[in-house]
């Protein structure tokens, strides 16, 4: 563990944490989204360090590239209003922070008591995770989940279109029922 690697990983970790904090504390949704993009990028870098270049680039393309863009579209669509600071639900803040601390403590305890955390794995070879090997695995062993995921994506697409369309005035679509019921 050379100094350089410690420094590198330390900076990366710090950026991840700070961007996470930035996301959950930003008042402006756009800033939050941008923090999250930074987070994704940094994690992608970590993926590369872990010998998963395909995943890293998939992360950048899918997550940072399309999902965050979707988010930004919607933020701009909805005006990104500034909500008041005061918490209307009693005890929510206290409890949330308590649970956060509890969760953190427990997981740390778990790792320290049960796991063997200090071991490091052997470095992986460059052709450990190539698109070819990933593809082979995908289409041979995990063919069924692959096809189902395709179905899920189709359903999501159709659903998104259906949920947001404006029905024509003369048509009695199910959307009208959804709209009228949500109007109550």
């Amino acid at each position: 563990m050379s100094l350089g690697s410690i420094l590198l990983y330390g900076v990366l970790g710090l950026v991840v944490v700070i961007s996470g904090i930035g996301l959950i504390t930003s008042r402006n949704a756009i800033y939050g989204a941008l923090f999250l993009v930074l987070n994704f990028m940094t994690v992608a870098l970590l993926y590369i360090a872990l010998g998963a270049p395909f995943i890293a680039l998939a992360q950048v393309t899918v997550y940072a590239g399309s999902i965050m863009v979707l988010f930004l579209f919607v933020i701009m669509l909805l005006g990104a209003e500034q909500l008041p600071i005061a918490e209307p639900i009693r005890g929510q803040r206290i409890l949330a922070i308590l649970l956060f601390i509890a969760f953190l403590t427990e997981m740390t305890l778990f790792v320290l008591l049960r796991g063997s955390p200090t071991v490091a794995g052997a470095p992986v070879s460059p052709d450990f995770s190539t698109p070819a090997t990933m593809g082979m695995l995908l289409f041979e062993q995990y063919l069924l989940p692959f096809e189902m995921t395709a179905g899920v994506l189709l359903a999501a697409t159709v659903g998104a279109v259906f949920l947001t369309r404006t029905p024509r005035p003369d048509r009695q679509g199910a959307m009208t029922t959804v709209q009228t019921s949500s109007k109550e």
């Binding site: 409890l95 649970l99 427990e106 778990f110």
Partner: protein, 663 residues
């Protein structure tokens, strides 16, 4: 035996189910098409049904004269449960046919009487439509009574027993909305039913014990096994007979369950005549007579029956002396005469008891129907008198003897028949009552002097109060406007009275000391009947006592007849406190009210209020409200906020991980 087999014994025996089914047919016809028949039609159908039953009974009697052992006709099997089997079977023997003749004969005469009587009564009470209902109930009663007397086993007898109790209830409360403050008649009916129930409870226990010890409820089988079981378990037979006695005290109005009969006078007069004088109340006497085989085994039980009967006879006779209502006097007289009958069958003098039952049916029915005629006449007189005066007031009581008097001249036929009935009841020779009562007194004389003295005293009082009643009602001057204008009743009413009067006069021929017709008749059924003899001294003493009673009554009430209706009774001054007690019937009802009714009502109120409403309802409602309050508590967690739900989920996650960490 089945229907076919019994035809071989004697063809008339097949007819026995008709004694029950003809009245049922009559009531069904009246029920379904009665409205279209009119009053005359309804009365005719009901009377024809009863006449049919009487005809069948006569035919059965003729058949029995030839085949004197009788027979049993099994119509159908009612139930068979394991070892227990009971049939709908009719028993044709001399005892049951005697009862059938009495019930249907007197019943027929009362049906005819009722046509005329109820015609007036429904109009006097303002509901002409109820005429049909009366005859339906009467036929129902005849049917049930026939079931009672013709049954071959105790359970079918019990069916008839309960059935006549039901009809009694229905008929006492016939005018259920009338009576003092609108409920008195209904209350009287209820009282009759409830008090009878207490007696029925005793009878039921007796039936249970009978089945437990004998394994059957059939008469023949039980009476055959009786000596064996008595030797094996005498306590059982004693218990059975004593519990049966409880039933008898209920149905036949003996001490201590007689209190319903005077109140039952709230029913129309034909009802009092038929049910509460001639037939239903004799069911208890019939039961003891039928079960002689059981009673003979336990002399101690016989003693109890005897004493109950004798005490009742004397007790009721004393009360009758102080009553002012014409029907109440007759009611207490009935209780007293039933006491005579019960004493007789308790002593084992069954023939004497049945003889008195028959003659009593004749003259008591006659007296009640005569009283009904008197009441009708007085009511007509009241309507007549008040047509000229102002609108009639309700405080006029047509049954109060103090407002009567001098009716001898206004209702001559009624007077003659009533006189005959009263003399028969008092025991004046050679009328029917003399012979029957004399037989009982002879038997009592042989059995126990104390009983004999008690019964003789009761006979003396009987003569006295009947004399009192005769003098107050028919002699002297009319004491109210109503009596002045009273009129004789129509033929339909007086004709049955004449027939009954003839029977009262000549009915003694049934068992005259020389011929003993009834005794030989009943010998075939009742084993071990002690032959009755005629003891001259006893007869003369009883005749003398009766004449003494009448003379005393004339002394008190006849020489200086009462001339005003609110004049105090002449006996009040000499007897003073005693007379008050007699007038208030020894406060028996009030006693029962305090000892039994009030605590029971308190318990009922407690159970209803504290236990039922408080505890049980509270428990059930409490569980409901508990669920409600629990729901409302948990409802607070349904805040509708997504974030609190998310919080709950995270709490769960943390808890699960805690568990995994600590495991």
């Amino acid at each position: 035996m089945s229907l076919f087999e019994i035809a071989g014994v004697h063809p008339f025996f097949q007819l026995v189910p008709l004694v029950v089914f003809l009245p049922v047919l009559g009531l069904l016809i009246n029920l379904l098409v009665g409205k279209r028949l009119g009053e005359k039609g309804i009365g005719a159908i009901a009377s024809l049904a009863t006449a049919g039953a009487f005809a069948v009974a006569v035919l059965l009697a003729v058949a029995l004269a030839q085949v004197s052992e009788g027979a049993t006709l099994t119509l159908a099997n009612w139930m068979t449960v394991g070892d227990f089997g009971v049939n709908w079977s009719f028993r044709i023997d001399t005892l049951s046919v005697l009862m059938m003749l009495v019930v249907s004969g007197v019943g027929l005469l009362i049906h005819i009487y009722s046509i005329g009587y109820m015609h007036s009564d429904v109009r006097h009470n303002g509901d002409p439509g109820r005429f049909r209902r009366f005859f339906v109930y009467l036929n129902l009663f005849i049917a049930f009574m026939m079931v009672l007397v013709s049954s071959d086993n105790f359970l079918m007898l019990f069916v008839g027993w309960e059935g006549v109790g039901l009809c009694s209830y229905l008929l006492i409360g016939f005018w259920f909305e009338k009576g003092a403050d609108g409920t008195a008649n209904a209350k009287a009916a209820k009282k009759a039913f409830v008090v009878n129930r207490i007696g029925d409870f005793g009878l039921l226990i007796a039936l249970f014990l009978l089945f437990h010890n004998f394994g059957t409820l059939n008469f023949t089988e039980i009476f055959e096994k009786a000596p064996a079981i008595a030797a094996a378990a005498p306590g059982a037979i004693m218990a059975i007979t004593l519990f049966m006695l409880l039933g008898v005290t209920g149905k036949s109005a003996q001490l201590p369950l007689f209190v319903w009969l005077p109140d039952a006078m709230a029913g129309p007069t034909p009802v009092s005549a038929l049910i509460h004088a001639a037939t239903m109340v004799t069911a208890g006497v019939y039961l003891v007579a039928r079960s002689q085989a059981l009673y003979v085994e336990v002399p101690a039980a016989q003693n109890v029956v005897m004493w109950v009967g004798a005490a009742t006879a004397f007790f009721a006779a004393t009360i009758a002396v102080g009553q002012n209502d014409i029907k109440k006097v007759l009611a207490y007289s009935t209780i007293s005469q039933l006491g005579f009958m019960v004493t007789a069958v308790g002593m084992g003098a069954t023939v004497a008891g049945m003889f008195h039952l028959t003659t009593h049916a004749f003259f008591k029915a006659l007296l009640f129907l005569g009283a009904g005629s008197v009441i009708l006449g007085v009511e007509h007189g009241h309507a007549h008198a008040n047509l000229h005066a102002e609108h009639g007031h309700d405080s006029f009581d047509p049954q109060d003897m103090r407002g009567m008097g001098g009716l001898r001249k206004r209702m001559p036929l009624t007077f003659i028949v009533y006189l005959l009935g009263a003399l028969a009841l008092a025991g004046i020779a050679p009328l029917a009552g003399f012979f029957s009562k004399d037989e009982i007194l002879v038997a009592a004389n042989q059995k126990s002097i104390a009983i004999y003295v008690l019964l003789t005293a009761a006979a003396f009082l009987t003569a006295f109060y009947m004399g009192r009643q005769l003098l107050m009602v028919f002699f002297g001057k009319p004491r109210s406007a109503a009596s002045e204008k009273a009129s004789e009743s129509p033929l339909l009413v007086t004709l049955p009275l004449v027939v009954l009067a003839l029977l009262s006069v000549f009915g003694g021929a049934l068992n005259l000391p020389g011929s003993h017709i009834l005794e030989t008749w009943l010998e075939h059924t009742l084993e071990g009947v002690a032959p009755g003899h005629f003891v001259l001294t006893v007869a003369l003493i009883s005749l003398g006592i009766a004449l003494l009673g009448l003379f005393l009554a004339w002394l008190v009430y006849g020489r200086k007849p009462l001339f005003e209706n609110d004049q105090p009774d002449p006996l009040r001054k000499p007897l003073n406190g005693l007379f008050v007690a007699l007038e208030n019937k020894w406060w028996v009802d009030e006693l029962y009210n305090t000892i039994i009714v009030k605590p029971y009502s308190a318990v009922a109120r407690f159970s209803a209020g504290v236990i039922d409403q408080g505890i049980i309802d509270g428990l059930v409602n409490g569980m409901g409200s508990l669920v409600g309050s629990l729901a409302r508590t948990w409802q607070r967690y349904q805040t509708g906020y997504v974030r609190s739900y998310a919080l709950t989920i995270v709490v769960g996650v943390v808890l699960v991980i805690t568990y995994l960490v600590l495991r």
